[in-house]
Symmetry: C2
């Protein structure tokens, strides 16, 4: 085994070779030329108006229902600032879920209730049970190509989620950064489409253009967005308008659709390579078989803990993430997330081979 | 009196005509070409390394003592998150002080103690008195061309401040966004130069290039910066690297110094026009006579309150800021801040004439 090359199975980042540098270079210059007086100045905490208009059109929403920030994680922070200071500090999350959201929820003193995630979305019965005890402020869910599991919520479950949110009067926070990266199968409707009045859909350009500009956005009820804009203004006055203007010009020039096509062509074979390698070396771990996104996940065999595997993997230059970090209320001792986008097919195959050797010995 | 044109004396923003659009357009494109793989990707919460190195060199600091964020206001938020969860929630501020900082301090539950600001800096005796009662976590001060007063702290007072901070073990948070915009007189040393181990100096490019890219930075003790980087990472993962790279290339190309010279040539006559108009129309208000920056301030005559003046000014299309917003512990009923940078000499003269009419009638 070649242990000279470190293989990193921890980073959910886009492939460097995916960045549309030429088009972004042109777009930034065009943005400053056309909108310099606006994007070099202070402005609205809702973000750059032409970008909001473009996003509204793209997502079938009204402009007043779109707010652009510096990445979408910070919007989660703003929402916590607003919603978790009132009566209910309870938040439902999937188990597993995005670890950075758990960190933010904890910082805001949330009482986190974990809902088990199945291959077709969160366990609806578990939500119903939890609703007998708890009165959540919101349910944080990643319906498409979930981070870290790779699961996608079925349409039936989306409808059930929305019905429960209406019946029990809680907000759905729909995080959908991977949604456009579907490699096979049919697009599901967003939760927002079913219930625009009680869903805040978050997304970003981090996985489509690149994370560096930091451009996340929320589509949601305008009253809540107004509250978010106030918190945002009190935090950073104005979001990064240079990035907003640049991404706007990139999109307006028609670069986004071909860029998404390129990403699918780049990432789909990497997902397939990961599944092929797992089927070959570690079939007993029954990995999730996502239809898109950045991640798949697997369950280590009984008696094999992620902590042992992490330590021994590090010895053969394979870097793994601690599965426990994705579970807010315990668990994850046998959970492994594998991000596949920023690795070549060779690295994936070599990494899974190393993983198998560590797991099986 | 011409009431057709609204004159806005509320906005502390740079003049639109000051933006170096041509140079920034080139710089962004160069940045993406040279550093695209880095500035379109996730990266360190300390910001773009070459920019940190450039700033360290410019400010005579080590790179590890420089952290770049999305505007400097958010760094104040991070510092509050870190420092105000421990024993002491007391923070000293100048009276008057920057209103957005007051908002952040209140959000973090700070016990704010106001120190009267004189024309040569904060009242040292008042600090000494307050230190007999309070044990502050930090003192937030704007030593150069203070917002909103326009005062600059004398060297003697800077030395006294540092001595008090050392003796009573508190941090100095030195906010210096206007520092480079000195129109006359001699540059004073920074507080950080006197006590790098207990000063965090904040600055930004908002007043030098433009606020839209959102590029603020901190120079301070590396242990505290590491804590700030952790909070920053948990908030937005990575700051806006597209902006960091673009501003870096702008600076590296040698554009900053000539840009600052242009700003001084643009703004100094506007400051003079404001003073001339006040001397002509409202000599009794004894305006501050700043040596640089964005603001001067004045005290309305006895019996004339800012609230009355604001209301009556609005009737003649003159928009004024409520002075009380700059005082954390009450006061400001007779305080008026006048930002002069984003107004033409004609607008300034006309605005002060309208102000005089309102004040004197």
């Amino acid at each position: 085994m070649n242990t000279q090359n470190k293989i990193i199975f921890t980073r959910g980042v886009p492939a460097t070779e995916s960045f549309p540098k030429e088009e972004m270079g042109e777009a930034t210059q065009k943005a400053i030329r056309a909108h310099g007086d606006t994007i070099l100045q202070y402005g609205s905490a809702f973000g750059f108006m032409p970008l909001r208009e473009w996003l509204a059109e793209w997502h079938g929403a009204d402009t007043e229902n779109v707010l652009c920030s510096n990445g979408s994680l910070q919007i989660i922070e703003f929402i916590c600032t607003i919603l978790l200071q009132s009566d209910s500090r309870t938040v439902f999350v999937e188990a597993p879920t995005y670890d950075r959201t758990i960190t933010i929820l904890r910082k805001h003193g949330a009482e986190i209730v974990s809902i088990p995630l199945n291959s077709d979305g969160p366990d609806i019965t578990a939500i119903q049970d939890a609703l007998e005890t708890y009165n959540p402020s919101f349910f944080y869910t990643i319906p498409d190509f979930q981070n870290p599991a790779g699961a996608t919520c079925s349409e039936a479950k989306r409808r059930q989620l929305v019905a429960l949110a209406r019946e029990h009067d809680f907000l759905l926070l729909e995080d959908s950064p991977y949604r456009e990266l579907r490699y096979r199968g049919e697009t599901q409707p967003t939760l927002r489409e079913f219930a625009p009045e009680r869903v805040v859909q978050l997304s970003s350009f981090s996985k489509l253009i690149g994370p560096g500009p930091r451009l996340g956005y929320a589509i949601g009820p305008k009253n809540l967005l107004r509250e978010i804009a106030t918190v945002a203004e009190n935090t950073y006055i104005t979001p990064g308008l240079l990035a907003h203007g640049s991404v706007y010009e990139f999109c307006r020039a028609g670069h986004l659709e071909p860029q998404i096509d390129r990403l699918k062509k780049l990432y789909a074979p990497r997902l397939q390579a990961t599944l092929d390698a797992l089927d070959k070396y570690l079939p007993e771990t029954k990995p999730t078989r996502p239809d898109g996104g950045f991640f798949l996940s697997l369950t280590l065999p009984k008696g094999v803990s992620i902590i042992d595997v992490m330590d021994r993997a590090a010895e053969v230059e394979l870097i793994l993430a601690d599965g426990r970090g994705f579970f807010a209320n315990g668990g994850g001792e046998h959970f492994l997330r594998i991000p596949f986008c920023a690795l070549t097919k060779h690295q994936i195959s070599e990494g899974v081979a190393r993983l198998a050797e560590v797991v099986q010995n």
